[in-house]
Amino acid sequence: MLAFWKKLKATLFRRQAERELEEDVRCHLDMLIEENIQNGMDPEEARYAARRSFGGVEQVKETYRDKRGFRWLDSLLQDIRFGIRMLRRNPVFTVAAILTLGVGIGGNTTIFTVIRAVLLKQLVYSEPDRLVYLSTDNARRNRQDSPFTLTRLEEMRASSRSFTGIGAFLSSAEDVTLSGTGEPEALKGSRISANFLDILGVQPLFGRSFLPGEDTPGGAPVAMISTALWNRRFGADPLVIGKTVTLDSMPHTIIGVLPPDFQFPFAGVDIWVTRPSEWSRLPPRYWRTVTLLKGFARLKPDVSLEQAQAEMVVLNNRYLAAHPDFGAVPGVTMRVARLKDRLVQNVRPMLLTLFGAVGFVLLIACANVASLILARATSRSREFAVRAALGAGRGRLIRQSLAESLVLAAAGGALGVLLANWGLHVITGMNALDSPTRVGALSVPGAEQIKLDGLVFGFTVALSMATGILFGLFPSLRISRPDLVNVLRESGAAAGRGSSGRRGVLRVSGRSLLVIGQVALSIILLIGAMLLIESLTRLHSVNPGFQTANLLTAKLALPPNRYDTDQKRAAFFEEVVTRTKAVPGVGSATVAMSLPTTPWIRTDVKVKEQPPADPNEVPTVQLQSVTPRYFHTLGIPLRRGREFNEHDNTPTAPPVVIINERFARRFWPSYPRQGPIGQHISNGADKSAAWLEIVGVVSDVHEGGLAADAGPEFYVPIAKHTPQTAYLAAHRRRSARLGRRYSQPGASDRSRSTHL
């Protein structure tokens, strides 16, 4: 071991070792000469005698050098030094090769880093294998991973014996407006059970978690915040605990700060509040019976996943039997999956595909550089022939050319790390841009952990070396067998052209192999890219169903204690619309429970005149509540009948409904020849309501984003379904310029203050 380090040191610091040897020998000779002179020899004779008794100086030195260091390492270093010199002499070739390799290695490093952070890393929670994820499936309606009701959660908690604890969260993130200290700010919020940290096995960074009492109706309004928000907005002040902030116009006390990398249940959440089912978009009477929640739980140590699944089957049957009114949706089953699997379910195929793609890119880069090297080898064949003629063995020649490849690969790897660093910034940036309301549950987990570290660096180094050998070996095998006679016989002027004849044919076949591989890989990538572009153009050509131009929106959040009845809320919305319309430049204005791409509600419907063949078959459609000018403001064309009028939008007016064309086609196959106008449907979310009369049909809107299909949907006046938070949309006249305040997230606060 000691010998190894000494040898390594002597090899790496060769010059110093050489100087020491030189000094030692000279010192010894000088001493000998001195002694000889003292013994009476004349200087010339003394020097001669000294040399004789020392022995052959150069011979001794050479033996010494052999033992001093690692010969192979020494010559490898020499090869590398020589390689760098050669590469410097060909800057164009070198830069081209390094750029090509840098892109290939950089892409692989980037995707590997993401895969490692997302797929390979363990969850940060304690004993992650015991954590499960709960949701419902409905094979009959082809729906997977759907939410369940608060009632079901309570029953599971009461009867289940498989878990140490069951928690739930509101299945979509909320956009929450934070105000009270400084500028109002729109944040991503999550509603979650009070026991969430106990189940996950996570401690708050500061303060405490929710108390059970805070998770019951009427519990104290408290919130936990992310470390990111704590740093950004509160200057990492520990005294933030106990501070009161306003969330969507409700004062909340901050009780705790979550650890930096905490990303549950969604990435990028900044505010956690409890009482998961109290979705502000829904009137409180629906909170127990609408499917809003997804669950998570920790298996007891002696319970397997299969046992828990079996228990859930029993509980599910009991639940369906016990609640024929809202629970008995035929075909519903409980899904119990490992949380880890569930977290990456959406991104796994995408990441693996990307990994494959960048792998191909790297292979193409290797092939490119290999053919560059081959092309250059032709012009260097004379150099290699001369070396071989001087006695360089084949291994020596291969090593020489491999050393050059490795130098190239190392430079490419260094560039790749830089590119990867930049690429990761882009990727994490994209993740942050992800709209807060459009994330499916747990969309991109672990995004904060995506960073370069030692292991990734090791991956890059290994990848670079493998790359270097891959693209370097083939050319070096070829050039290491020069046809001495032919090459050397050619005159110096012609030497650059390389050899001819039989060997020329061989070289072509070798290169064709490279080219064939390259073209094949490129075509695979090209097809993949074309498919992506095709999907993107299709997405762009989808008509969203409404006019986005000149449309300004703002979120409205009403303080629940002040606006505690449907009447008060409806009156407020009407007031907002009236005042907004009065602003110069505004063409029309509307308030709606949700806007396209914000979360929506689905509910059961029945059609009075078209009873379903199977009484168990209750279709669910999207529910939307709007003020009268909604369709006009958003530019949604009316196909049949009429829009809502002011009279419809009063609590006492006869209930009316407007449906979209998808809805109409589904129940009236003869639409549009025979219209559904004047017929009646029931709104499953509102048991108190009588039959609603259809007064109009509008064209379809892609509520779930362009990639999602436009489903059947119905609209009721907002006075009949008045949420706590809603959206204001105003259409600007083309020439008009509105103040910025209407497009700001803080607009909700402004609206509130005008009213108060």
Binding site: L2, K6, C27, H28, M31, F54, G55, V57, Y64
Partner: protein
């Protein structure tokens, strides 16, 4: 290089022990002093090319049996002084045993042959 190795190896073994033992009895020495001392002890029997000491010293140092540092010679010349280490002393003991065994064995055989 590879051809002469086996012969050099035998020589080296004895040379190593001689160097170590000399350093042990004399204390720190520079190369020249060491060579002179060894010639004195061997009283001319050993015809040592003094240069061959240096590869041997390098080997011993790599093994950790001796260590070196720069110092001033009697004539105030800067020279490398070699010194035996604890590991070197231990090595002498085991080498000495080996050597004595070999010598004893050889003696018995030679007496038998008489």
């Amino acid at each position: 290089m590879s051809k002469g190795q086996s012969k050099a190896e035998i020589l080296q073994g004895t040379l190593d022990l001689m160097v170590l033992k000399t350093l042990q009895t004399m204390g720190p020495q520079h190369g020249f002093g060491l060579a002179k001392r060894m010639e004195q002890i061997s009283t001319g029997i050993l015809d040592l090319n003094q240069g061959t000491l240096y590869p041997a010293l390098l080997r011993l140092e790599q093994r950790g049996w001796i260590k070196s540092r720069y110092g001033a010679s009697e004539n105030n010349r800067k020279a490398k002084f070699y010194e035996i280490t604890k590991a070197g002393v231990k090595q002498i003991q085991s080498e000495q045993q080996n050597w004595e065994q070999t010598v004893g064995l050889m003696e018995r055989f030679l007496r038998l042959a008489e």
